[in-house]
Each structure stands twice: as C-alpha cells, then as structure tokens.
Subunit: 449 residues, 2 copies
C-alpha cells in the first residue's frame, strides 16, 4: 500500500494535518483561522453533541440561545474578563449599510450577556439554581490557527449557572466535571483523562477555581479537553445577579461556567489515530460497521453478493448498529478500503464472491487491523462483540501510553526534563507559583493539580 | 381569571408579543434586532430541528459546517446576489486587535462560501449529486425587528446541493419541498400550508424558480414558512462548479438551496395560539403531558398525592409520552395552571387529594379547554388518545380558518379587496407582473402560484 499519511513518529503535527485532509474531516476556511467541517467530521461532532447533550440535560440544565452580538460596553463591565479577551475580539463596526453608533463584538463566550439576563430572570431564592446551557459558535481571533485545536471560530457548548450558595455552585461545577465531561470522555471517547484543578496562574479570567480534564495525545503531550469553573460572586457582582433569600435579605448569587468544544475532535484524532488514519471508538462512531461489496458476483448458495451484503446491512441495523454501506464497485476496492481505514470505521464487513461462496464475510477490525472470515449467520454477533471489545481496547491502549509516559519525580528540574517526552507528576510543594513561572519559561505548563 | 394577554381580536401584533413574553419563549437581545431564545422556546426549536433533521437525512443530505465569516469579495462575485443582501450585511472590520486588510462579512446565507467549496470538491459526475445541509446562525440587519419573524440574527438550516442535470436539481428541490418541509409542517406543526411557486418578482435573488410554503396566521395574513430554490447554473457559473461528464466534457453543475428558520416559531404561535396563550401540537411538543400536583395530601386508597403523581409521570414516560412534572406546591395552583396554559402543553394531568380519593385524576386538554375526571388506571390511554385527537383538531381548525378566509375571485380588484381579511385565489392571467406591482403598491403580495 502506498504511503498515504506522514508517519506519526516522523512528524506528528504533519501527520495530524494529513489525517484531517485525507479522511475529509475538515478544510481551512477562506478567512484565515476559520474552518469548514466536512460531513465526515461533522457526523462525529453530532454524535459528541448527542451524547453530551443527554448528560447535560440529565444533570438538570436546559438549553437556550443567546445572541452572537454583544455590545462592546458589556465586556468592559468585568475588567479582568475583558483583559483576558480583548486581543482576540472580532468587532462589527458596520451594520445595515452604515456605521454603528456603538460597535458590537462577536461573542468570544457568552458569560457577559448571559449574566445580564440572569440578573433579569432571578428574583428570589425560588428561582435558583438557574441552570443554562447553549450550543453555539464563538470567535476568538487566532494568530497561529490549527484545525480543531485553535481556530478563530469554533463550535462549543457553554454552560452558565447561578446558585444560592457557594457550596451548591461548587457541587454543580463538579457534577458537570464528573457526570457529564469525565463520564463522556472516558466512557464514549475512550480517553483516560486526568481530572483535577488548574493553578491560579492557569485559571479562566475571573474564576475562583478552574477544574480541567487533560488528555494525553499520541506524542505524549497534554490537551485540555474541557473545563468547569467556579466564578465565586465575581460575575454576580459585575452583572448584579442578586436574589432575595428565604430570610428576606438580598444576596449575590454564586455562578459557574463550563465548556467543551470542537477541540475534542482534535483530541480524538491525536489520542486514537495511528499511521493509517483515524480510529473512532465504537460508542462514538457515526458508522460503527461499514458493509463493503468487494466486487459484484455470485456467492453460490447465499445468492448474489449485492443481495447478501444488503441483508447483512439490514440485520446489523436491526441489531441497533449504526451501519455504513459501500457498493461503489466501479471504484477500485483497494482505494475504498484505504478510505475506510482513514475514516476509522471500527469494523468493516467485506462481502465478495469468493468468501461468500465459502459461506463467509470478512470482518476487519480497525483497532488491531485483524481480518477474520466469519460465517454469514454469525456476522451480527461477531460485530457486536468486536465493537464492545474495541471500545475497551482503545481505552486500554491510551491508558497504557499515559502510564508509560508519566513519571513521578521529586523535583521541578526532573519534571521539566521528563516533560520532553511525556508527563511528570511532581509535588506542588516543589513547584509553587515561582516554579510554575520557571517551567513556563521553558515551554512546560502545570496542567492539573 | 385576570386578563393575562391582550385578546387577539383587539390587537393581534400586541397579543403576539404578549404570548412571547408571558410564555417565556424569548426576550429581545441587547443589540437591537437580536433575540434571546429562552428554554421554553428553545425546547420547541430543538424538537423542530430533530424532526426536520431526520427528514433531511432521509432525503440523502449530509450535515456540515461552514464558517460564519465570509470575505467581502465573495459576495461581489455574484452581482445579483450582493444586490439582494448588501443593505442587510454586518461587517467585521477589526480582528485580533487591529484593522483587517479585507473586511469580512457575517454570513447572511452561506450560498457563496459553500459554492466555493463545492467547486473544490466536485470533480467528476461521480461526485454528484453533492447534498449538503447546515444548521447555523445567520445575520441580516433588520430595521423593523419582530421576535422570531424578523430578527437581525436568526437560526436556520440551509441546504445546498449540486447536480449533474437540471431535471435532477429540480426533482431534489421538489423532494425537499414536499418530503421534508410540507411533510413536517402538515404532519408535525399541524399547519395546512399552501405549497407552490413564487412569481419572478418575489423570487430569491439569483434563483430561476422559488418554491414556497405559506401558512395562514390567526389574523388571516400569510407567513412564508420555508422556501426551496432552483438556482439553475447561475451559482455554478459564478463559483466555477464544474464536473467532467461521463462522455468526457466539462459541464457546469445545477444547484439548489432551501431553508427554514426560527421564523417557524413565530408561525407556530400565530397559527395555533389563542387568547390564553400558545397551543403546541402534540407531535411537536417538548412536553406533551404535564403532570401537576394540585396540592399535597392523602388520596385514600391510592396513597399520597405526590406518590400517585410520580407513578403517573413514570407510567406516561414508559408509554413514550414526553412528560413534564410540577410539584411546586408552595406556588399557588392557579398561577401554575395559567403558566401551563400560556406555554401550551397539550394535556395536563392534575392530581389533587379530593379527586384522587374518588379514584381520579383530571385531564385538561389545551386545545378545547375540556376538563375530564379520569380513573387513574385509564390515564395513560386517555392521554394517548387526547394527543392523537388534538393533533388532528389543531390542524382541522387551522384548515377551516384558511378555507373560510380564502375567496376565489375573478379580478385583481376583487383580490385586493379580499386580502384585507384573508387570502384571495385569483387567476394569474388576471394579474401578471403589472398587476403584481399594482397590488404591491396597496400592500398586497402575490404569495404563491
Ligand atoms: Zn472575568
Ligand atoms: Zn444570486
């Protein structure tokens, strides 16, 4: 097989770009830093959304939609916040054919506008907690864009909640962290994320506490997969989110915010991809089993290849499997097989005249590359077993990498050295804010406490 | 009951605004013309999306995502198109802290950027048809905004497809019109839309043919609920979407585009709403049956009110009903009942100690306002029957209004007169482009051929 992708060991960032292009996941948009998410990539994002959205709703949050445009003055209201964002803002100065009296900003996050409406909607303690989420696009001008990882526009969900007490806000920020994010990332994405807190220096502007989920990518580096913030009463003070308590006093609410984005697509590629392309964990995959006609023909007792393949597709679908179907026999089979590898379908069911005459289809597992002839009546059970096993196998492989590439050290110097090839676990007492600055100076970040 | 809403007969536009505010469907955003879609409104939009998305996928289109920002030069490429949009554009002049070399436009539609990428992706006739859809926000600066109906930012789906032949493009534009839009609007929204073509004067800029679906609102006026366009080879020429045919020649593709938006929420309100608020058709409703505890207490043989209500909720859920639950007994029941009316839940199941002691819950149907005691073991069956019947009843009521308010006339003058209170059906031969101009001058539009 001709080399389709740059091998990971040769140039990991180049391999990443190759996968995105060859698997047709995304393209660069015409405005620098933007992206076009192609159907193959978007179908994975839709699956991420569906799984996350169900968990967000189960955690009690409701979806809403807030405007794309935010008055510039809103961002100034929370000084710390605007400092964090102003170099990244896209500003609309003209609308409806003329210059605007007040320029408007394209939302870099909806914190401020949601804060404004929370203040309108919250009156008494009976209105709390107020638990909101939105799925939206946001814009943060990016000077060194990389598709899915750092783009000027990206898609995300942002949760914003208001609570009567600090304890309730903290419990909810942690509920989202564990029951939504960790549960999804571990159980569906198959990524053994490290879950913990950020240092004061790495926190979200205005947060009193930031929780993070960090995944180890195939090159041993960390990717922040999601964050959940306690915002104390900072936002409530800036936006006047107050409530009358049961005892009659007026109090500021305690707020949280939490987000995950299309960056998870980048994490998926870099955590599970191999030198043949993407590998999508079965529970996530939009196409779990891809039925392919190798070539048309007669399969003896089992009838025509096309007929047998259609029957297998239907039987898999009836068993609850998400099925793809490839009958493009006028395209060489080798090319189609490479494409299926690139796109990372967990299982391929290849149906051709020779195997079918022997009563078999061939089951190809993307995780380990194994090819096994399976008697046609056993295909559904074999596919279900393979999907189950390979979800676990991908997780185990990622966990093994993380454990192999994480060393426990006693000093900051050793931690910085170890971070050249992976992660280092070091007592925070050995680092501290001064040590963190020193590490940052050498391109090393403290990811997770 | 105190008057909650302005009656429709008194001031229909005011009633519409009242419903949106009192049912907590939406608020005006801080930037003029934008809107905040609140959880009650957004849950309905999510149901619209789910129903539409399933039909769009069944019609063979795949979802993708294209960037929010479009280079200004793209819009100039299709002269007719930019003319249609330029007064509505929002323009970003600053990004990343400095002035941009080329201003970018916030998409008013993605026609142009999708055209650009279709040109990259389409090579041979084997790549056709290319069937794409996206769910996104778009911006068209609006000087006279009305929530859901005309907002500067709105949410929509826009489909864009490329085909090898005019016949195939036409068939697909009509497939979407009938199998996606009409099927959804009639079968789920319960709106007896009139389906037909627009006059040349009312067509989308650049289209060779525009199909439309028009709903009659409670005031007898028409609302355009969706459109599907044949674009001929106009866009393909402007964006160089060419393909090599089976016989080796190079041809321009034939394209279509089609869209529906959050304006459908406005149509829903104005078609089915009454003087007590919204009425949501059961098949659409995020909450189909709302179980309410009237007040706590003992229900005799059937146990506690809270226990019996929870059991009913679970039994309804198990029967596949989307269920709401209201146990806020510290809020007066009357207030909660008015709120449920406003939000238009199709069926309420009210559980209180007195009825429960007699073995009953009370079934309240939003469509006709009827209140019926139902023996607890029969509640699930009664709810299912009511949901089925009231889906039909809302449709029948809307159809009756449309028929009552549509007159068939023979001349343009009669048609203009009739349009003061409803619709007029008149032979196009009596109108023509000149008659259309005359009608427009008197505030009357030719909606549908
Ligand atoms: Zn802040
Ligand atoms: Zn045009």
């Amino acid at each position: 097989m001709a080399r389709v992708l740059t091998p990971r060991a040769e140039d990991f960032p180049r391999w990443y770009q190759d996968v995105i292009a060859k698997a047709q996941l995304a393209d660069n948009g015409p405005v620098r830093g933007t992206m076009v998410i192609r159907p193959t990539g978007y179908a994975i994002w839709e699956r991420m959304q569906a799984e996350m959205d169900a968990r967000i709703k189960a955690a009690g949050s409701e979806n809403a939609y807030f405007p794309l445009f935010i008055p510039e003055s809103y961002l100034r209201r929370e000084a710390e916040h605007v400092e964090g964002f102003s170099p990244e803002l896209a500003v609309v100065t003209h609308g409806g054919g003329k210059q605007l009296a007040e320029p408007v900003v394209v939302r870099p996050t909806s914190e401020t506008v949601i804060g404004e409406f929370m203040a309108k909607w919250v009156d008494s303690y009976r209105d709390l907690p107020l638990l909101l989420n939105q799925w939206a696009n946001v814009v943060r001008w990016e000077l060194r864009p990389r598709v899915f990882l750092r783009t000027s526009e990206f898609l995300w969900q942002e949760g914003h909640t208001a609570h009567a007490t600090e304890a309730d806000a903290r419990a909810y920020a942690r509920k989202i962290l564990h029951e939504v994010y960790e549960d999804f990332m571990v159980g569906v994405l198959g990524i053994p994320v490290l879950v913990g807190r950020k240092t004061a220096g790495e926190r979200f502007a205005g947060a009193t506490n930031t929780y993070t989920l960090e995944g180890m990518m195939g090159d041993g580096k960390a990717l922040q997969m999601g964050t959940s913030h306690e915002l104390g009463q900072n936002f409530a003070r800036a936006f006047d989110i107050t409530y009358s308590s049961a005892t009659g006093g007026v109090e500021h609410a305690w707020t949280t915010s939490w987000g995950t984005s299309t960056r998870m697509l980048g994490g998926l590629i870099m955590c599970h991809g191999d030198d043949n392309g993407l590998r999508v964990p079965p529970r996530l995959a939009p196409v779990q089993a891809h039925v392919m006609i190798v070539k048309d023909g007669d399969g003896g007792a089992l009838g025509s290849v096309a007929g047998a393949a259609s029957k297998l597709r239907d039987a898999l679908r009836d068993a609850g499997v998400r099925v793809g179907f490839d009958d493009r026999v006028d395209t060489p089979f080798g090319r189609r097989a490479v494409d299926a590898e690139l796109k990372g379908y967990p299982v391929r069911v290849e149906v051709g005249p020779r195997d079918l005459a022997a009563g078999n289809a061939v089951l190809v597992r993307r995780t380990d590359g194994s090819k096994t002839p399976v008697a046609v009546p056993d295909v559904v059970a074999s596919v279900l077993a393979a999907l189950e096993a390979d979800q676990q196998a991908l997780y185990d492989e990622a966990l093994k990498l993380r454990l192999d590439r994480t060393v426990t050290v006693g000093t900051l110097a050793d931690a910085i050295e170890a971070s050249a090839t992976g992660w280092a676990s070091v007592p925070w007492s050995e680092v501290g804010p001064a040590g963190e600055k020193e590490a940052n100076g050498q391109g090393v970040t403290v990811r997770c406490l």
